[in-house]
């Protein structure tokens, strides 16, 4: 599959008066292949938005290279921008224009027909409020209008920076479904978020960023596995006795809630069962425990940075 985003050694420093420069990106390497939903994850301040700004030509990189749909950024950007829809941080729209007028102004830049504006508004469920001023919109509605603007070009690549920001639970589910359907249509959806669990539900592949560096990339399953090592969750009547039996059998184990989590890969489930049965404990549940991206992130970065839940 062709790469739609290629980033090589990308570095961005912000110079400050009489202070050392702030390094937002520190030699980032990333490749995003065509199709599906790609989650670009990391806590606030990890460099996600700076990366997006760099690949869209909004900020210039201090070093490194970026290519979008095979064209160098920023010089070749104008050749591919018509195929790229994007939202960078909060959707930036004119608050005193109506939602429709905002989209019409953008549509004119690319000579997009008026029908496309209606279609985009309809797709994000804003038709009824299209003629209201944007300043009267809720944050969630602004996000949806931003997504509508990104969809106007019928893009093959969508770059969405924190699209679920400010949305209520119903809105988050809507956006999640929208991202899934866009990915299923054959578009590449590159979605950044600090809410790792949210993206885990829609992304096929993810990259985790911390302090301007890539810490993991690949399929969601691979990243989960690389973060913590696979584990097994097991339930027995006497949790403490079970934990001790596993430790005596050379298996690291901890009690979390009503489960014992054993640090062995799922294919070694037999070892766990044997150790427990040997002391007369018969498991009522034994299953692979993949954990989630938050846990994987914390283990990969080896720190206790706050990540969105």
């Amino acid at each position: 599959m062709a790469a739609v985003i290629e980033i090589e050694g990308l570095r961005k420093e912000y110079r400050r008066l009489r202070k050392p420069p702030t390094v937002a990106l520190d030699g980032l390497d990333l490749e995003v292949s065509e199709g599906g939903v790609f989650g670009f994850l990391g806590p606030n301040g990890a460099g996600k938005t700076t990366t997006i700004r760099c690949i869209l030509g909004l900020v210039s990189a201090s070093a490194g290279k970026a290519r979008l749909l095979g064209n160098d950024v920023p010089h070749g950007l104008s050749r591919v921008i018509q195929r790229v829809g994007s939202i960078v941080e909060a959707p930036a729209l004119f608050p005193r224009f109506t939602g429709r007028r905002n989209l019409e102004i953008l549509a004119r830049i690319d000579g997009i027909a008026r029908d496309a504006v209606d279609t985009a508004l309809d797709r994000v469920g804003l038709t009824a409020r299209a003629n209201d001023m944007v300043r009267t919109y809720s944050l969630g509605m602004k996000q949806r209008l931003g997504i509508a603007a990104a969809l106007l070009k019928d893009p093959s690549l969508l770059i969405l920076d924190e699209p679920a920001n400010g949305l209520d639970p119903a809105g988050i589910v809507e956006v999640r479904d929208l991202l899934r359907s866009l990915g299923a249509e054959g578009r590449t959806v590159f979605v950044s978020s600090h809410i790792l669990s949210e993206v885990q539900q829609v992304a096929d592949r993810v990259a985790i960023l911390a302090r301007g560096r890539l810490v993991a990339a690949g399929s969601v399953h691979d990243v989960l596995a690389s973060g913590r090592g696979a584990r097994i969750a097991v339930r027995v009547p006497d949790l403490e006795a079970g934990r001790l039996a596993l430790v005596e059998a050379g298996i690291a184990a901890t009690i979390e809630g009503d489960l014992i989590r054993a640090a062995v890969p799922p294919e070694e489930g037999e070892r766990v069962t044997r150790a427990l049965v040997a002391v007369g404990l018969y498991p009522s549940l034994l299953q692979p425990d993949e954990g989630n991206l938050e846990q994987a992130f914390l283990e990969l970065t080896g720190d206790d940075q706050q990540v969105g839940a």
């Binding site: 909004l58 920023p74 959707p91 729209l93 004119f94 608050p95 007028r101 102004i105 953008l106 603007a149």
Partner: protein, 305 residues
């Protein structure tokens, strides 16, 4: 580029500030005309006839007078026409349509300020609201975008000023016909009105372009207006006071010369200074080019956060 201009044009005419300023200017003009009309006492036919006689006499004596010590451009006929002035002025104080070119020159400072505000805010608002990010993700060729916006600003303010000028001219003609005089309205007057209107509109358009270019550097409307104010009112004022011989290179003085389209000469402590329309055009274009250069440079190189 055509699509980009179409998009910018739609954005320009959708701006509330543009509509509010245009409607406000037209309302203020209407109110001013009504007040002027009420305060004007229309001269009688006899007074107008007497004034025309008086003007002819003044003209005749001007043409035979000794003007050896006075330097002027053009023919003696042209000099005397300007010296004698409109015949209507000899018929007492009232609204005179013949004064329209001077009135238009008088409102040019207001239309130029309107242009400056519109130009500065139209550019700065994109940075202040963050919409510049959205724009550049649709048109990443920044210079192309800025050129389109500058063109739209210049054209928009030019047309807007012509609308104000046309409204004022029509209103003054109507008021003068009812409550004043239309003496002195001839072919030369029409030509004067037309060229003055165009110069007023051009001056407003140039102010808008300068405001837009400064706003592209400062990214804030108030900052842009402040910079232009400090330059024209403070710095140029100081230069005019301490270095009067540099006056021919100041923006404000040259805009005045451009609007009046007359060669003027002033004596100063340091010597005479002369302003000519051609020189004024070059200086104004020079200032505009320099400010635009900085505007384009900042738009091209600065990060959009």
């Amino acid at each position: 580029m055509r699509r980009l201009i179409a998009s910018e044009l739609l954005r320009f005419r959708s701006r509330r500030l543009v509509v509010v300023l245009l409607v406000g200017a037209l309302l203020a003009t209407a109110v001013g005309l009504v007040i002027a009309a009420f305060q004007s006492t229309p001269p009688s036919d006899a007074a107008i006839a007497a004034a025309e006689v008086r003007a002819r006499e003044e003209m005749a004596s001007c043409l035979v007078a000794d003007w050896d010590d006075v330097s002027f451009e053009g023919t003696l006929q042209e000099f005397c026409r300007e010296y004698v002035g409109d015949p209507a002025q000899y018929a007492g104080s009232h609204l005179k349509l013949a004064d329209l070119p001077k009135v238009l020159e008088g409102i040019s400072s207001i239309t130029s300020i309107l242009g400056l505000v519109i130009g500065a805010s139209f550019v700065a608002v994109s940075w202040q609201t963050g919409t510049i990010s959205t724009i550049f993700t649709w048109e990443p060729r920044r210079l192309r975008w800025f050129a389109a916006r500058i063109l739209v600003i210049a054209a928009g303010v030019f047309v807007m000023t012509l609308v104000i000028v046309a409204f004022l001219s029509a209103g003054l003609a109507f008021a003068a016909a009812l409550r004043g005089s239309i003496v002195g309205v001839d072919g030369a007057w029409w030509s004067d009105v037309l060229t003055t209107s165009l110069r007023v509109a051009v001056a407003a358009a140039i102010s808008a372009v300068i405001g837009a270019a400064v706003a592209a550097v400062g990214r804030h409307t108030a900052a842009a207006l402040g910079v232009v104010f400090v330059w024209t009112a403070v710095i140029e004022g100081l230069i005019r006071g301490f270095r009067p011989l540099w006056s021919p290179w100041l923006l404000g003085d040259n805009i005045v010369t451009f609007l009046s389209w007359r060669t003027t000469e002033f004596g100063t402590i340091q010597g005479p200074v002369t302003f000519t329309p051609g020189h004024a055009v070059l200086v104004i274009l020079g200032y505009t080019a320099v400010v635009l250069f900085f505007g384009f440079t900042f738009v091209r190189i600065r990060d959009v956060q």
